[in-house]
């Protein structure tokens, strides 16, 4: 109740998303991605992050949205959850803000085409800005990915 969360705000298309700072490892510019065959379509491949091989996924593809072309502002946000390290390709990485947990509402069933289970909630901040808080555990859910891969194969 009333806790302050530090959140990194990034943009995907027209929407703004947030991830807690302590889950974010680093934010990098786009670097050459090596394709890994026989993986789900939104898994773009792997990159060389200072000597460590890190897989990267396209979040829009993960959410079933249409993918967009990367731009100058596109970034890779590397998050770490449990023992998984994964990079998200995002359209822009904007800000670090403090959010009061009280202002996070549970999301209605369908919000902007993204399935609700990937979200922790929707936060209001600033003037009329909505921040979609991501549920990383669901986003990085491996079992679902295996299912997806089997479907594609």
């Amino acid at each position: 109740m009333g806790e302050e969360l530090k959140v990194i705000v990034f943009g995907l298309g027209d929407e703004e998303y947030g991830i807690e700072v302590d889950k974010v490892r680093t934010i990098e510019r786009l670097s050459p991605i090596t394709r890994v065959p026989k993986t789900a379509a939104f898994i773009k491949g792997v990159i060389n992050l200072r000597g460590i091989v890190v897989p990267v996924i396209d979040l829009r593809g993960r959410f079933g949205l249409s993918e967009t072309e990367p731009t100058e502002n596109s970034r890779i946000i590397v998050v770490a959850v449990a023992d998984l390290e994964v990079g998200f390709i995002v359209d822009s990485a904007n800000d670090v803000i403090d959010i009061d947990t009280d202002s996070i509402d549970t999301p209605p069933e369908i919000v902007g085409g993204i399935k609700a289970k990937y979200l922790h909630g929707i936060a209001k901040y600033g003037e009329g800005r909505l921040l979609i808080m991501l549920n990383l555990a669901e986003v990085l859910n491996k079992d679902e990915i295996i299912q997806l891969e089997q479907l594609e194969a």
Binding site: P32, K38, G45, V53
Partner: protein
């Protein structure tokens, strides 16, 4: 008191001692009369007890204490070893190991050892009294005494290094060095006084470097009539002789001036005299002992053995000096070094592009140095397999006892080294293979005699290097794999169909035993028979990058052969291009590279094949397997191929083009992407590009 700092030391050292205890107990079993082994065991147990007590592990200390008591009786000859005592001691050892394991896992090391302690106390109370023990011991002691007295002189006549160098330097600088031998008359009463007078005389005009016997012994008159002195003196030889003779009650004086040659000769004689003495003592002791009762042999033999044992142990101590290193540090070192390797490749590339001489020279030198570094770093992680093999003799002994079979375990090549991660993982599969051999391979004593074999079965455990691999073989002279029985069971369990079964070669039939769920054992024993083990063994070994094969002849025996890669993280690979993408294929799997024409491709039963060295092998399209976005070999008239092998199976992989051979650093893909089958890892190339490493085994069915 913060014990945590000492805990890891305690664990390491306890493990060493427990290992030594195990080995020595086994040795003692085959030579129960050898008291030096008992001494070693006693020492290990004693040290262990001290450490445990200091760290506050009460149960550990008290159990060791009881074992010590038993061992004390044995080494003082009040108790003879028999199989009950051995079994109890082994049980005690097991309990100790369990307690240490508990401590390693963060526990307190407490355990209920009351039953073992009770057994030990029974042994202590029912004193086995060797009847003549005390009398014989006294006789042996008496025999030892005069033998000890006589050569007391020759023993201490050896110069130590310091004295030797003083004498040598004095000779070199032109001073007079003498070896003086003085004999007092028989009826001399005050020997010490006379000796003192001789010393006094010499020291007035020079220095005494060494006297034999020592000064204390001379003062206490612990000598017969003779004594010798090494001295530096200003007097001439004749003067010296004259003056000493002038002292009353001196019978004779022999003065020998020394130069370098004679000094060394004199020492050699003294040393020879000493070893002769040791031999004489042992033969004398042996003669005495054979006259006395059997138990007396032990103390006399041990008395003679002690000096030789001491000599042996001092030799052993000087051999290797080691240092304990935290594994994490080694891993960090490895990682950092891998980074360096990547940069080196990059520099080499850049240097060849920029084409500046001094840059190229420096880079070349750096390459050479880093190659050497690479070898050393890789070797750092190498550990002798002995650390895995050393628990096997005990296991074989216990198992063969419980199954009532006679088995000899012969280990060769225990000093062969493996990467430490492999060592950690290879233990369990080997245990299973050994248990298999003991349970299913070696027959019972009766069966063996009936088959005309020696009643003791042999299991050979070998480790050796060959090429880029380490091979570990488990071979036994048991009953071999029964082809028919294996086929029957395989058909019954649905592992292979009847028709297929007819076409299998002997080798293939043998490999069936590795199938999941396979077991020909009629009963499930505690040891094996559940049909789970060999399958797990094979997958474990494959996950380490190795493979396992089996050779067998019915009635003669079976041999399991495990092949493992030497190091895990840096491998040689062939870099290939597939359209715009680069991939790496481990060199160890590659047989050959070649180019084939489209016309050479044969279509057999819907599968593409080519003729290669008198056999037909399958052709695999890498672009299809990897869903290449921009390469399709169908459009080419000629295609480059890489021929790979997995055990006996071969296949040809169609690729776009070769880039070259390179040493690459294996990087894990991480847990997120584990499920990729054709790809076993990644590597970072010189230009920073991530290339995926293809798993050839996945391409060969």
């Amino acid at each position: 008191m913060d014990m945590n700092a000492y805990l890891s030391m305690f664990i390491d050292e306890s493990n060493d001692h427990l290992q030594a205890l195990n080995e020595n107990l086994l040795l003692l079993e085959s030579e129960p009369e050898d008291l030096t082994i008992v001494q070693n065991i006693f020492r290990s147990a004693h040290t262990l007890k001290g450490m445990a007590a200091t760290m506050g592990f009460e149960d550990l200390a008290s159990l060791t204490h009881e074992m010590e008591n038993v061992l004390d009786l044995v080494r003082n000859n009040k108790l003879k070893m028999d199989s009950f005592i051995f079994d109890t001691l082994f049980k005690g050892l097991d309990a100790l190991e369990a307690m240490v394991q508990d401590i390693i896992n963060g526990g307190t090391g407490k355990a209920d050892v009351t039953s073992i302690v009770a057994s030990l106390q029974i042994i202590l109370k029912s004193d086995y009294k060797p009847e003549n023990a005390s009398a014989a011991a006294a006789a042996a002691a008496a025999a030892a005494a005069p033998a000890a007295a006589a050569p007391a002189g020759s023993k201490s006549s050896l110069l130590d290094e310091f004295q030797h160098s003083i004498l040598m330097q004095s000779i070199e600088s032109g001073l007079r060095v003498y070896h003086i031998q003085v004999s007092l008359i028989e009826s001399c009463m005050l020997k010490a006084a006379r000796a003192y007078m001789v010393f006094d005389l010499i020291e007035r005009n020079g220095d005494i470097v060494k006297s034999d016997p020592s000064v204390q012994e001379l003062e206490q008159e612990k000598f017969d009539r003779q004594f010798t002195i090494y001295a530096i003196s200003e007097m001439t030889e004749d003067e010296l002789k004259q003056n000493i003779n002038d002292i009353s009650e001196i019978e004779s004086v022999i003065v020998t001036p020394l130069d370098q040659e004679s000094l060394t000769m004199l020492e050699a004689k003294a040393a020879a005299g000493l070893s002769q003495y040791a031999e004489a003592e042992s033969t004398a002791a042996k003669q005495q002992a054979s006259a006395a009762a059997a138990p007396a042999l032990a103390p006399a033999a041990s008395a003679a053995a002690k000096p030789s044992a001491k000599a042996a142990s001092t030799n052993g101590g000087a051999v290797t000096r080691t240092i304990r290193v935290d594994i994490e540090r080694l891993d960090t070192l490895m990682n950092l070094f891998s980074e360096l390797l990547i940069d080196r490749v990059r520099l080499e590339q850049l240097a060849s592009e920029i084409k500046r001489n001094d840059l190229m020279e420096t880079v070349e030198h750096m390459s050479r140095v880093s190659s050497d570094l690479q070898n050393i770093v890789l070797k750092l992680r190498m550990v002798p397999v002995d650390s895995v093999f050393n628990r096997f003799p005990r296991m074989v002994r216990d198992l063969s006892k419980s199954l009532d079979k006679k088995i000899d375990l012969i280990i060769t090549g225990a000093e062969t080294e493996l990467d430490r991660t492999v060592i950690d993982e290879i233990g369990d599969p080997l245990v299973h293979l050994l248990r298999n051999s003991i349970d299913h391979g070696i027959e019972t004593v009766n069966e063996r005699i009936a088959a005309g074999k020696p009643e003791t079965g042999s299991i050979y455990l070998r480790a050796f290097h060959s090429g880029n691999h380490v091979f570990i073989e488990v071979e036994e002279d048991g009953k071999g794999i029964n082809r028919d029985k294996v086929l029957q069971t395989a058909i019954k369990k649905g592992i292979v169909s009847e028709e297929k079964a007819q076409t299998l070669t002997d080798q293939e039939v043998n490999m069936l035993i590795f199938a999941a769920g396979f077991s020909t054992a009629d009963q499930i024993s505690d040891i094996s028979g559940r049909g789970v083990g060999l399958d797990v063994v094979r997958s474990k070994i494959t996950s380490l990058g190795g493979n396992v094969t089996v050779d067998s002849a019915m009635g003669k025996g079976t041999k399991f052969s495990v092949q493992l890669p030497l190091t895990l993280s840096i491998i040689s690979a062939m870099l290939i291009k597939l359209g715009s993408e680069k991939y790496a294929i481990p060199l160890s799997s590659i047989v050959e590279t070649s180019i084939i024409k489209k016309e050479q491709i044969l279509n057999v039963h819907g599968n593409k094949m080519i003729e290669f060295r008198n056999t037909v092998i399958p052709l695999v399209s890498l672009s299809k397997v990897l869903d290449s976005p921009d390469f399709n070999e169908e459009q080419e008239a000629e295609t480059e191929i890489v021929v790979i092998r997995k055990g006996d199976k071969w296949a040809a992989i169609m690729i776009d083009d070769f880039i070259g051979q390179s040493e690459i650093v294996l990087k894990s893909l991480g847990s997120y992407l584990k499920s990729s089958k054709a790809v076993s890892g990644a590597t970072i190339l010189g230009d920073g590009y991530v290339a995926l490493i293809i798993d050839p085994n996945a391409l060969i069915k």
